[in-house]
C-alpha cells in the first residue's frame, strides 16, 4: 500500500510519486488534491492504480490523477495518461466500458421561478419521454444502414433527421463526430446490444437533471454561454450504452493475447493495450470511435426528447423556454491530439478515464464563437448537490494535456451506501429540499446517495486553484430523473 510519505509535494495541491517508487514506472505519477482529498484517495487502491498507468509503453511526462480520483479497474477513475505516437499504446481499459460517457448542458431563457409551478409535470414528462433503466429500448429502430451512419457520423446524422441543430453540433466536443470511425471493427454482438438503445439513459449513475443557475463566478464568459443567474438548465449524463460496453469487452478480451504477441509486460491485465499504429491498435481505435459517435448521437437524441418535453409542458404557458446547448463533453475517451511538451510539438494518444478535456482559449479545435473564452467544461455533482460549469485554461494545456476533473468521485462502495441510506427516505429528503425526484429503482437511488461521494465543490476548488480549470457558474438541482 501507498502512504503519504511516498508522495512529494510539488506545489500547493500538487503531488508527485517519483519513478523511483517502483521499478516498472516509466514516468512520475502526479496527483492533484488538497489535504482531505489526498487522504480520501489513499484509503483505497486508486493511487496504486495511478502508479500502474505510469508503466504503459510510450507514456509521456507523467500519469495524472484529478482530485476526484477513485478506485476503478485498470486505470483509476479520474486518470489522464498520454502516450507518444507512433510508438505509444492505446488501452481499451484506459477508456473504460462506457465509451464516451459524458455530459451535455442545455440552458433556457426561462427562470426557475417561472418553471417551478410546472416542475412536477415537467419531471414526469421527462421520465416518460426519455427511456431509462437497464436494457431499456428507445423509440428509434435502426436498420443496419442507419446504425452504420450513426456509428460513422455521430450527432451529425441527427442533423439530417432533424434531431439536432447546427448550434448543437458546434457546441459538442469534436463537433459530435470522432474521425476515424469504422463500423467494420464493431462486432455483431455490439451492434445488436446498441441497435435499440439510441435515445435511452440507462441506469447506474446516469441521470437527467433540471437545474437552476445558483451562482455566476465569471459574468462575461457566462453571458457568452447564455448562462444567467436564476435561469433553468438541464444536464444529461450518459454514454454509449450496451454498444460501448461490448466494444470494450471485445477488445480487452482480444488484447489479452495481443500484449503477449508484442511482449508488453503490465502490472494489471485490465491495462492490456496495443501499439496505436499496430493493426490491433487501429482496430480498437476505429471501433472506439464508433461507440463514441453512438454516445454523442445518444445524448443528442435525448436532448431532442427533453426539448419536446419542455414544449409539451411549458408550451402556451411561458413565452420563452427554448433550450440552447452550452456544450457536450466526453469523460471516458482516448483522443489523438497535438500537445507541446518541453517546447516540442508531439502527437499523443490522450486517455481520459473519468476526466474531461479542458482546452484553453485560442485552441484551434474550438468553434469560432468559443475560441477566445476556452472550452466549456461540465462537472456534474452527486445527486442533489451542486454541479459546475468551468472553462478550459492555458494552465491545463501546459500541465495536464488539456484536461481537468469530471465530477465528485465516489468515496463509499455501493453496498455500503445501500446499507446506510434507504432509497425512499433519500427521495423524501430530496423532495423536502424542493427537488423533484423521478426514479425507476429505489435501491439504485440509494447507491447514488450524495453521502457516497466526495464534495464536488472541493474538487472544483482544487482544479480552479491549480489553474487547470476556471470556475464560471454553479448549478443547483430542482428535479432529478434516474433509471
Amino acid at each position: 500500500m501507498l502512504s503519504k510519505h511516498d508522495l512529494v509535494r510539488v506545489a500547493e495541491n500538487v503531488w508527485d510519486i517519483p519513478p523511483t517508487f517502483r521499478d516498472d514506472m516509466r514516468v512520475p505519477a502526479r496527483l492533484y488534491a488538497d489535504g482531505d482529498l489526498l487522504e480520501a484517495a489513499l484509503t483505497d487502491n486508486s493511487v496504486v492504480q495511478l502508479v500502474n498507468t505510469a508503466t504503459l509503453p510510450g507514456v509521456v511526462r507523467h500519469a495524472i490523477a484529478m482530485p476526484d480520483i477513485h478506485q476503478g479497474y485498470g486505470f483509476p477513475i479520474g486518470g489522464v495518461v498520454a502516450t507518444r505516437l507512433p510508438e505509444g499504446v492505446i488501452s481499451p481499459g484506459g477508456v473504460g466500458y462506457d465509451i464516451n460517457c459524458g455530459v451535455r448542458l442545455l440552458v433556457s431563457p426561462a427562470t426557475a421561478d417561472e418553471v417551478k409551478p410546472y416542475l412536477e409535470e415537467l419531471a414526469s414528462a421527462l421520465y416518460t419521454n426519455c427511456p431509462s433503466g437497464v436494457g431499456v429500448h428507445g423509440s428509434l429502430r435502426l436498420n443496419n444502414n442507419e446504425l452504420d451512419k450513426v456509428l460513422h457520423e455521430g450527432s451529425r446524422w441527427m442533423l439530417g433527421e432533424r434531431y439536432a441543430s447546427g448550434e448543437d453540433l458546434d457546441h459538442t466536443e469534436e463537433f459530435g463526430r470522432i474521425p476515424g470511425a469504422d463500423a467494420t471493427y464493431v462486432s455483431d454482438r455490439a451492434r445488436e446490444r446498441g441497435r435499440n438503445q439510441l435515445g435511452t439513459l440507462g441506469a447506474g449513475n446516469h441521470f437527467i437533471e433540471v437545474d437552476q443557475v445558483a451562482e455566476v463566478y465569471d459574468q462575461s464568459i457566462a453571458a457568452r454561454l447564455n448562462i444567467y443567474q436564476g435561469k433553468v438548465a438541464v444536464q444529461i449524463h450518459c454514454g454509449s450504452r450496451g454498444l460501448g460496453h461490448q466494444v470494450c469487452e471485445d477488445y480487452v478480451g482480444r488484447f489479452q493475447k495481443t500484449v503477449k504477441d508484442y511482449g508488453i509486460k503490465l502490472p494489471d491485465r485490465e491495462l492490456v493495450c496495443a501499439p496505436f499504429e499496430s493493426t490491433e491498435g487501429q482496430q480498437y481505435f476505429r471501433a472506439m470511435a464508433c461507440a463514441a459517435n453512438f454516445a454523442f448521437a445518444n445524448r443528442q437524441l435525448l436532448a431532442h426528447l427533453i426539448r419536446n418535453s419542455f414544449e409539451q409542458v411549458l408550451g402556451g404557458k411561458l413565452s420563452s423556454f427554448r433550450l440552447h446547448q452550452v456544450y457536450d463533453i466526453a469523460h471516458n475517451m482516448a483522443k489523438i491530439e497535438e500537445h507541446t511538451i518541453s517546447g516540442h510539438s508531439m502527437r499523443l494518444c490522450v486517455h481520459r478515464k473519468g476526466a474531461t478535456r479542458a482546452f484553453g482559449p485560442g485552441s484551434s479545435v474550438l468553434p469560432d464563437d468559443l475560441r477566445d473564452i476556452g472550452q466549456p467544461v461540465l462537472i456534474p455533482g452527486s445527486m442533489g448537490t451542486s454541479s459546475y460549469v468551468l472553462a478550459g485554461t492555458e494552465g491545463a494545456m501546459q500541465e495536464t494535456f488539456g484536461s481537468t476533473c469530471h465530477g465528485a468521485g465516489r468515496v463509499m462502495s455501493r453496498a455500503k451506501a445501500k446499507k446506510m441510506v434507504h432509497g425512499a427516505e433519500l427521495s423524501r429528503k430530496l423532495e423536502s429540499r424542493g427537488i423533484v425526484v423521478r426514479a425507476g429503482s429505489m435501491s439504485g437511488l440509494a447507491e447514488e446517495a450524495p453521502e457516497a461521494y466526495k464534495d464536488v465543490s472541493r474538487v472544483v476548488d482544487v482544479v480552479h486553484k491549480v489553474g487547470i480549470g476556471k470556475k464560471i457558474a454553479k448549478l443547483q438541482p430542482i428535479a432529478v430523473i434516474k433509471g
Partner: protein, 135 residues
C-alpha cells in the same frame, strides 16, 4: 474469508467485487456465476428458461471472464435472469454449460466483467479468484 462460503463481496469504491472459491475449476466457474447473480437487483418471473452455453478463452482467467460476460449477454439478449448454472465439459480454455432462469425484461444492471488484478490461483483446497464487475 469464511471457509464455508463459496463467495463473498469485497468492498470496492465505485464498482462491485467478489472473492470466489471452488473445489475444482468447474465449481469455481459455477460459484462465480452465482456470485454475480447475487448482485442483480432483479428477480426473474414467469416462464422458466434454460440456455446452452459454450465459451472459449486463452487461459483460465479469460475463460472465467468470457463465461460471466456470456451470461450477462444472454440475460440482456433474451430478457432473462439466470440463477442456476451447470457446467459439463470444462478445461482451462473451454467450457460447456447450461444456465437456468426466468424472464426479467432488460436483464442484469451489471455492465461488464473486468480483468482487474484477476488471477485464478490454485490452493490446497481447490481454486480461488477475485473478480471486479463494472456496474
Amino acid at each position: 474469508m469464511n471457509p464455508m462460503r463459496d463467495f463473498e463481496e469485497i468492498e470496492h469504491t465505485a464498482d462491485r467485487s467478489f472473492h470466489v472459491r471452488g473445489k475444482s475449476f468447474a465449481q469455481l466457474l459455477e460459484n462465480a456465476a452465482r456470485a454475480m447473480h447475487s448482485f442483480s437487483r432483479i428477480e426473474g418471473e414467469g416462464k422458466n428458461s434454460a440456455r446452452e452455453v459454450e465459451v472459449q478463452g486463452v487461459d483460465r482467467e479469460t475463460l472465467l471472464v468470457n463465461w460471466l460476460n456470456e451470461i450477462l449477454y444472454l440475460e440482456q439478449r433474451h430478457g432473462e435472469i439466470y440463477d442456476r448454472f451447470e457446467t459439463s465439459e470444462v478445461n482451462d480454455t473451454h467450457l460447456r454449460a447450461k444456465v437456468y432462469g426466468r424472464c426479467s425484461p432488460g436483464g442484469s444492471h451489471i455492465k461488464a466483467v473486468t480483468f482487474h488484478n484477476l488471477a485464478v490461483s490454485e490452493t490446497t483446497e481447490g481454486f480461488e479468484a477475485t473478480v471486479v464487475l463494472d456496474v
